[in-house]
């Protein structure tokens, strides 16, 4: 079980929120989407996904409901709450600020 680095761990929450901001999804779909968008670079294991989902649910950022999935089986569908949307905005802003600063530094040293 590979443990993602701290940066990625903190980012995992943001990624999930971002993915769910587009449309409600079940756990499987989220894991597929994560692999897709991050092109396996971030190496988010499925093992980390589910605890993260429960953590986010407990914090009131996402909400789970039982619905029919695309293959006609009942599954837990996660969607963003109002609180989660606010959190996503906060985190995105924060991320943009930090990554801009970091890439500035990295580029400076690279030059």
């Amino acid at each position: 079980m590979s443990k993602p680095s701290d940066l990625v761990q903190g980012t995992l929450d943001m990624l999930i929120l971002k993915i769910l901001a587009l449309e409600p999804m079940n756990g499987w779909a989220i894991s597929q989407r994560l692999k897709q968008v991050s092109s396996d670079v971030l190496g988010v294991s499925d093992g980390s996904l589910y605890p993260a989902l429960y953590r986010l649910e407990r914090r009131g950022w996402i909400r789970a409901e039982w619905k029919k999935s695309e293959n006609n089986r009942r599954a837990r569908f996660y969607s963003l709450t109002r609180l989660g949307r606010k959190q996503l905005e906060r985190e995105t802003a924060h991320w943009n600020r930090v990554s801009a600063a970091i890439s500035g530094i990295v580029n400076l040293e690279g030059a």
């Binding site: 499987w28 093992g47 914090r59």
Partner: protein
């Protein structure tokens, strides 16, 4: 987590809490679903089914761990862990029943003693009056003489002024204890009741179950409202629950009273210690009190009263108001009120009932039971330490297979909690059984039904629960502390390394034993000091004969005698008694010393004594018949005793005591000088030696006597000097009384020594309780010491065997173990002595003529301690001396 998050996540947390299984199933289902889809996808991409499953499992990373991480993330594990810990804890405790039973018994004793004492505090001092509403706002109201600390009685007019003028008081009411003969049919008995103000039942919020309470105005006038409210018990027992009781007539002290009501069951009146049986309005006071009509006399101080504060008002504010009023009264009525204040007391300091007498004892008991609890905790701590060594292996295994340290500590705390819970439950049960035990320690009196209940109400239970919590922490944290040093690998490598572990921690256990020995030594010293005081107080002469003098009352007031008839009767009875063989002398006195009745006091003036401007000398006195001093064997220092000729027609005379002479006449002989009593001048004809008057513990105080004939009371106490046993004497006296009047009765006859014993019963209570708890503490300390030594011996069998093999005799091994026990005792006694020297002064009021640092007392406490510890050492020492070297070495 901020409030909004908390609110948003509330549903899921509630669901996790109430439907843990369903939530868990859903979570597992979701993971299974994921796994299946991953397998399906893997198969679709060309893997074999077996490989597909393996790869899917790998990518998820251990299904059980994920499940646990999900539970953790959900925060649902808290409760599940708790349930698991509880179940596991119970199993652990059942596995070593001896240990568990011992620990629970120790805790039950500690917690039970505490709860019982809290219950008594609540039932006797803080909420003493069952069924009375809003006791938290009740205050006792009394008079107080300037410069004094004890409360005195209040006069009726002063009380009325307080009731009218105290704006912060919701209500004020009188409740003055009194007695009466109660004849129903041909059966006469003494009963205890209260003289109350008419607002009494409304003020305390008690409403009669039958009939009515008193009406406004029924406490006005002289003998104008002969009505009585009776208690439920009296109605049930003496009137057989007669439903038609209201309106019937009952004779009390020879005056027919109409029964107007019956109080509810569970109401015992407002006098700590005694259950009241009837209530009469203040207007009937003359029928029960001996000094005539007092409702308009500001100088007659006889009532005991209470106020209830308005909600939100404080005692300090109300006291300011009442003090201002007292100052006004002093100004308006200097003849009666100069130097007199009025004071409000919290109920637990009530100056005029058994709350007052039991307060010092109960205060000390709080400290004593805290000590017992600490000793019990130390014992249980010790037991748990032993077990934690035994369980090192188990703990290490659990750490090794992935339990977190936090989880282990939680587990140990849970076990402590189970022990504390069971101990608390048993303790509560014990306290509940003991709640009426105080009554057993107090001497019985005829006509009085003692009522000293412990009250197990919410506040007491809350305190008990608080103790339980503290005990849990102490008892659970001791072994938890040990896990700090737990090394995962160590004990797993070598099973037998337990012994080494014990050695390094032996000082903790020895420390606990020293702690126990010190605490129980303090209690021993306390018990010994109290015992010594009781012995002294009961063997100190109060200044008069006690064993050869008996006292009783003739029911003259109850018999309806007026003053002239009573005078004739008293003289004739004394003449008859003095003629009886076996009676050396007999005399009447208004008040018997050391009884519950208080002496009257009066402002005085003396010819050559100039009081300072704000001083109004006021001295207590007694009205006595001729022969009183010789009957009680009180020596006369100079002058003469009263004679028959000092009657109502003769010039007024008085006899003063030595302390009064010293204060007001100095070195002069007062005989022949004048003393003003109640505004009239009397001549001093004699000086008597000092005696104890109200209490064995009082300091010498000024006191004087006047002839009964010149200041008459109808119902004085009869004192008889005799060598005869009580039984035959009582019969003989009753014969003489009946020869004069067949309708009169004789009250309980007791020796003055019994009177002394009754007046010192609080000391007896203190001695008994402290002795019981002291022995308990000693026993617990002994068990603790025994435990430590037995364990040490069991663990060092190899060493002992070696010593023996190398030539040590068994006597030497015996000495070795005992000397170790004595070393621990010595250390404990050292700390105990230091603590006792500092603490014993707090026994203060309970000590009598004993220094709190009395070396003899410390010596005897030491002797008891040593005997106990040596006996605790004997068995382990004997076991050590029986070590078989051959067997030990073979193993």
């Amino acid at each position: 987590m901020d409030l909004e998050e908390w609110f948003y996540s509330l549903p899921i947390r509630l669901r996790s809490f109430f439907r843990p299984n369903q939530v868990d199933q859903e979570m597992k289902g979701e993971l299974r679903e994921h796994l299946e889809r991953q397998i399906a996808e893997n198969i679709a991409s060309g893997m074999s089914p077996h490989e597909a499953r393996r790869s899917a499992m790998l990518s998820l990373g251990g299904i059980t761990q994920i499940e646990q991480r999900c539970r953790d993330a959900r925060g649902a594990t808290l409760l599940q862990d708790l349930v698991q810990d509880l179940r596991y804890g119970f199993r652990q405790l059942c596995r070593s029943p001896g240990f568990s039973a011992l620990a629970i018994v120790c805790l039950a004793l500690g917690i039970g003693a505490n709860t019982a004492v809290f219950g008594w505090l609540e039932g006797i001092l803080f909420r003493p009056y069952p069924a009375v509403s809003h006791q938290e706002r009740l205050l006792a109201l009394s008079g107080i003489a300037r410069g004094e600390t004890d409360g005195t009685a209040l006069s009726w007019p002063d009380f009325l002024d307080v009731r009218r003028n105290c704006t912060l008081c919701e209500d004020a009411f009188v409740s003055k204890i009194t007695g009466s003969t109660l004849s129903i049919g041909d059966h006469a008995e003494v009963a205890t009741g209260s003289i109350v103000s008419a607002n009494y039942f409304d003020a305390i919020g008690v409403h009669p179950v039958l009939g009515r309470g008193f009406e406004p105005g029924e406490d006005v006038g002289s003998a104008s409202h002969p009505v009585v409210v009776i208690s439920y018990q009296l109605w049930r027992n003496r009137f057989k629950g007669d439903p038609e009781i209201v309106g019937k007539t009952q004779t009390l002290n020879n005056v027919p009273h109409t029964i107007i009501g019956v109080t509810p069951d569970g109401f015992y009146g407002t006098f700590v210690g005694w259950a009241m049986q009837f209530w009469v309005p203040a207007s009937m006071e003359e029928t029960f009190e001996s000094e005539g009509y007092k409702l308009e006399d500001r100088g007659a101080r006889w009532i005991e009263s209470y106020v209830r504060l308005k909600p939100g008002a404080s005692r300090v504010q109300a006291q300011q108001e009442v003090s201002a009023l007292a100052a006004r009264l002093e100004n308006d009525y200097p003849a009666t009120n100069r130097g007199r204040g009025i004071k409000l007391w919290p109920l637990w300091q009530t100056p005029f009932n058994n709350a007052h007498t039991l307060l010092p004892t109960l205060e000390v008991m709080v400290a004593v039971v805290a000590f017992v609890l600490l000793i019990a905790c130390a014992n249980v701590g010790n037991l748990l330490l032993v077990r934690s060594f035994v369980r090192r292996h188990e703990m290490s295994v659990r750490l090794a297979i992935g339990a977190s340290r936090v989880r282990l500590v939680k587990q140990l705390l849970t076990e402590g909690f189970i022990l504390a819970m069971l101990g608390t439950a048993a303790g509560f049960l014990m306290a509940y059984w003991c709640r009426h035990a105080l009554v057993l320690l107090l001497p019985a009196r005829s006509g009085v039904s003692m009522y000293l209940p412990g009250e197990m109400d919410g506040r007491v239970m809350a305190l008990g629960a608080g103790i339980c919590l503290i005990v849990t922490l102490i008892v659970g944290l001791v072994p938890a502390f040990q896990t700090r040093h737990l090394d995962v690998a160590g004990p797993l490598k070598a099973e037998s390394s337990v012994v080494v572990g014990v050695r390094s921690k032996a000082w903790v256990r020895s420390g606990l034993v020293i702690f126990q020995v010190s605490l129980s030594f303090v209690l021993l010293v306390g018990a010994a000091l109290l015992l010594e005081s009781l012995h002294k107080i009961r063997n100190t002469s109060p200044g008069f004969s006690t064993t050869t003098v008996v006292t009783t009352h003739v029911s003259l007031v109850a018999g309806g005698y007026d003053a002239p008839r009573a005078r004739i009767f008293q003289d004739e009875l004394l003449d008859r008694l003095n003629r009886l063989p076996g009676i050396e002398s007999a005399a009447f006195a208004a008040v018997t010393p050391l009884g519950y009745a208080t002496f009257p006091s009066t402002p005085i003036a003396i010819d050559d004594y100039q009081p300072s401007p704000d001083e109004q000398p006021s001295v207590e006195y007694n009205q006595i018949s001729p022969g009183y001093f010789s009957t009680l064997a009180i020596p006369l220092v100079s002058g003469r005793e009263f004679t028959r000729t000092d009657d109502e027609n003769a010039p007024l005379v008085a006899i003063v005591n030595r302390t009064m002479v010293a204060r007001y006449w100095g070195s002069q002989d007062p005989v022949g000088s004048r003393l003003q009593v109640k505004g009239q001048w009397a001549r001093v004809v004699g000086v008597a030696a000092d005696t104890k008057y109200q209490s064995m513990r009082e300091a010498a105080k000024p006191f004087f006597y006047v002839p009964l004939r010149q200041d008459f009371v109808r119902g004085p106490a009869l004192n008889i000097r005799t060598q005869q046993p009580l039984q035959s004497l009582s019969a003989a006296v009753l014969r003489e009384v009946h020869a004069l009047d067949r309708n009169l009765a004789l009250y309980e006859m007791i020796t003055l020594q019994e009177q002394v014993n009754r007046s010192t019963s609080p000391q007896l209570v203190a001695v008994t309780l402290v002795s019981i708890l002291g022995s308990l503490a000693l026993l617990l300390a002994g068990v603790g010491l025994y435990g430590v030594l037995s364990y040490a011996v069991a663990q060092s069998t190899r060493e002992l065997g070696l010593r023996m093999a190398l030539g040590a005799s068994s006597a030497k091994l015996l000495r070795l173990v005992i000397s170790r026990g004595l070393r621990l005792t010595a250390a404990g006694v050292f700390f105990g002595t230091v603590a006792a020297l500092a603490l014993m002064k707090f026994l203060g009021k309970l000590l009598y003529n004993v220094s709190p640092h009395d070396p003899r007392v410390f010596g005897s406490a030491l002797a008891i301690m040593v005997i106990t510890t040596v006996s605790a050492c004997l068995l382990p020492a004997w076991r050590a001396s029986r070590t078989d070297p051959a067997r030990v070495l073979r193993n």
